[in-house]
Amino acid sequence: MTSEITLNHYLWVSGLLFALGIAGVVIRRNALVIFMALEMNLNAANLALIAFSKYNKIVDGQVLVFFIIAIAAAEVAVGLAIIVALFKRKQTVSVNELNSMRL
């Protein structure tokens, strides 16, 4: 029995990361932690793309990864600014408190 790391191993890890990310968004109530979980989703996709690129020997996936990293950085810059502004105004970042607009 060989113990080589195959594409499937990478995909399982990436799937696990993605599932953790989704679970974090659903379960946690702190906007910052949710945002962290969302970044994990993107990185799960990055891992899958790199693995696919390596095993299929096509470089397109790795090109996309660079774009995703850059875009994720932009998203963090904007996202944290919004969350900080929200904290300044409300003194909390719990998503349970985001309820000024109910019926």
Partner: protein, 476 residues
């Protein structure tokens, strides 16, 4: 040649960056006039776009197309941008700071939308999509001293990032199983051979992720809160620009790239369309805030347009384009009135017909067109969508259920749209002071009303443009 194909985008980027510089060179200038100027320049760009001819070539290594479909959407986005800039100029007093930045962000988001119209590759799709989405995070939270705007921004941020995660994870699987990100190559590969379950997983993830932009189930939950909390010009841009961008992507991905596996995604879209119709129209019934009402209504309308896409025939895709075109005028009209009145509770619109006949008439026409009352353009749009679904039902009886749900949604929607109509003309006003309407807003309202009535009676020009644009997919 590549640069020539992207000239409209280049123009908007130059305009946007130039606008940013005005704060450095002319601080304290008249920002309202700047808005009118930019709206005029974008209108000129829109007129200029009619001199461009569609081409079958691809640009940037097959990533970018300038076909009739792309041009149709580019013109739609330019129209929406011009109106949103006009709304921004009317909104100037309500922004505390950063009006020039606001205009610049609108122009940059518009650039992203123009690229979206031409996308022919998943890599470009993701980059253009995020350019629009991230810009909209800022725009939504732009009134940063108001809790509602910040809450709207946070909600849009969380759900937007979640849907981006879905999209990009789906793209990873589509790329991994087919080895390409190009739509044309994908279509060739898929029609040649079968598709495994890993590929289908990727496709469904992309489909749900793109559904966020159009506010379809399962990513519809943001729409009411974000529509209510965002500054009104941004809400209008979300309803008209962002939604059309979502449909441009859905149409292009599903009909250009993934058409060979339509047997898989059509039933999914059928269910999503039905669920979206139900959620939007039932949710709207009890709303008292007009922006929130339009948020639910926009979910409902996403459902109608998904019906056309789910039908998967030539009439359906053409009907979606026609619907988007007339929906733009209708929604822009409604939001122009909301900005001019400056109040958001439906009760505040009591007696609007007496306080300002033009605002009352414009909002009433917009609501009637959204409800689909003949002879307004909304009626013909819905008529075509239902005709497409009935045509699809000839081969698959499940579509009769979808048509039934759609008909039920129309009946329900009559109630809440006419609630607004009743406020305008029947209820007595508490405050009877006339509302001043500035000349540019008046002009904008006349254009929208003319389009709503004109496209309802004489549909030919827009139908022809939509047929030409949808023709690139070669559907039957």
């Amino acid at each position: 040649m590549n640069l020539y194909a992207t000239q409209l985008e280049c123009l908007l980027v130059i305009l946007g960056l130039g606008t940013l510089l005005t704060d450095a060179f002319r601080p304290g200038g008249d920002r309202r006039k700047l808005g009118y100027l930019l709206a005029t320049l974008v209108t000129i760009t829109l007129l200029y776009s009619f001199t461009l001819a569609p081409t079958a070539d691809t640009f940037f290594h097959g990533m970018y197309r300038l076909d009739s479909f792309a041009l149709f959407f580019k013109r739609l986005f330019l129209l929406a941008t011009a109106f949103v800039l006009l709304m921004g100029a009317e909104f100037v007093e309500r922004f505390e700071t950063g009006v020039a930045e606001f205009y610049a962000l609108v122009l940059l988001a518009a650039t992203g939308m123009l690229v979206i119209a031409s996308v022919n590759d998943f890599i470009l799709l993701f980059v253009a999509l995020e350019l629009v989405t991230i810009t909209f995070y800022i725009l939504t939270a732009f009134l940063r001293r108001q809790v509602q705007s910040l809450e709207a921004g946070t909600k849009y941020l969380i759900l937007g990032a979640l849907s981006s995660g879905f999209t990009v994870y789906g793209i990873a699987y589509i790329f991994g199983t087919t080895g390409t990100t190009n739509f044309d190559k994908l279509a060739t590969l898929l029609s040649a051979g079968g598709s495994g379950s890993a590929f289908l997983l990727g496709m469904l993830l992309v489909l749900t992720g793109l559904g966020f932009k159009v506010a379809s189930v399962p990513f519809q939950i943001w729409a009411p809160d974000v529509y209510q909390g965002a500054p009104t010009p941004v809400t209008a841009f979300l309803a008209v620009g962002s939604k059309a961008a979502g449909f441009a992507l859905l149409l292009r991905v599903m009909l250009a790239g993934l058409l060979p596996v339509s047997a898989v995604w059509m039933p999914v879209l059928l269910v999503l369309a039905a669920a979206t119709l139900g959620y939007g129209n039932l949710g709207a019934i009890s709303q008292r805030n007009i922006k929130r009402l339009l948020g639910y209504s926009s979910i409902g309308h996403a459902g109608y347009m998904l019906m056309g896409l789910a039908a998967g025939n030539a009439l359906g895709s053409q009907a979606v384009l026609f619907y988007l075109g007339q929906y733009a005028f209708t929604n822009l009209c409604a939001f122009l009135v909301i900005i001019a009145v400056g109040r958001e509770e439906i009760a505040d619109y009591a007696g609007l017909g007496k306080r300002s006949p033009i605002l009352g008439a414009a909002l009433f026409l917009a609501m009637a067109s959204l409800a689909g009352i003949p002879p307004l353009s909304g009626f013909f749009g819905k008529f075509q969508l239902f005709a497409a679904v009935i045509e699809a039902a000839q081969t698959n009886w499940h579509y009769y259920i979808l048509a039934g749900i759609g008909a039920g949604a129309v009946v329900v929607s009559l109630y809440y749209y006419f609630n607004v109509g009743r406020a305008i003309y029947i209820e007595e006003a508490k405050d009877t002071t006339p509302i001043p309407v500035s000349l540019p807003v008046r002009a904008g309202l006349y254009v929208c009303m003319l389009a709503m009535i004109g496209l309802g009676i004489y549909q030919q020009p827009l139908v022809e443009a939509a047929t030409l644009a949808a023709g690139i997919f070669g559907l039957k």
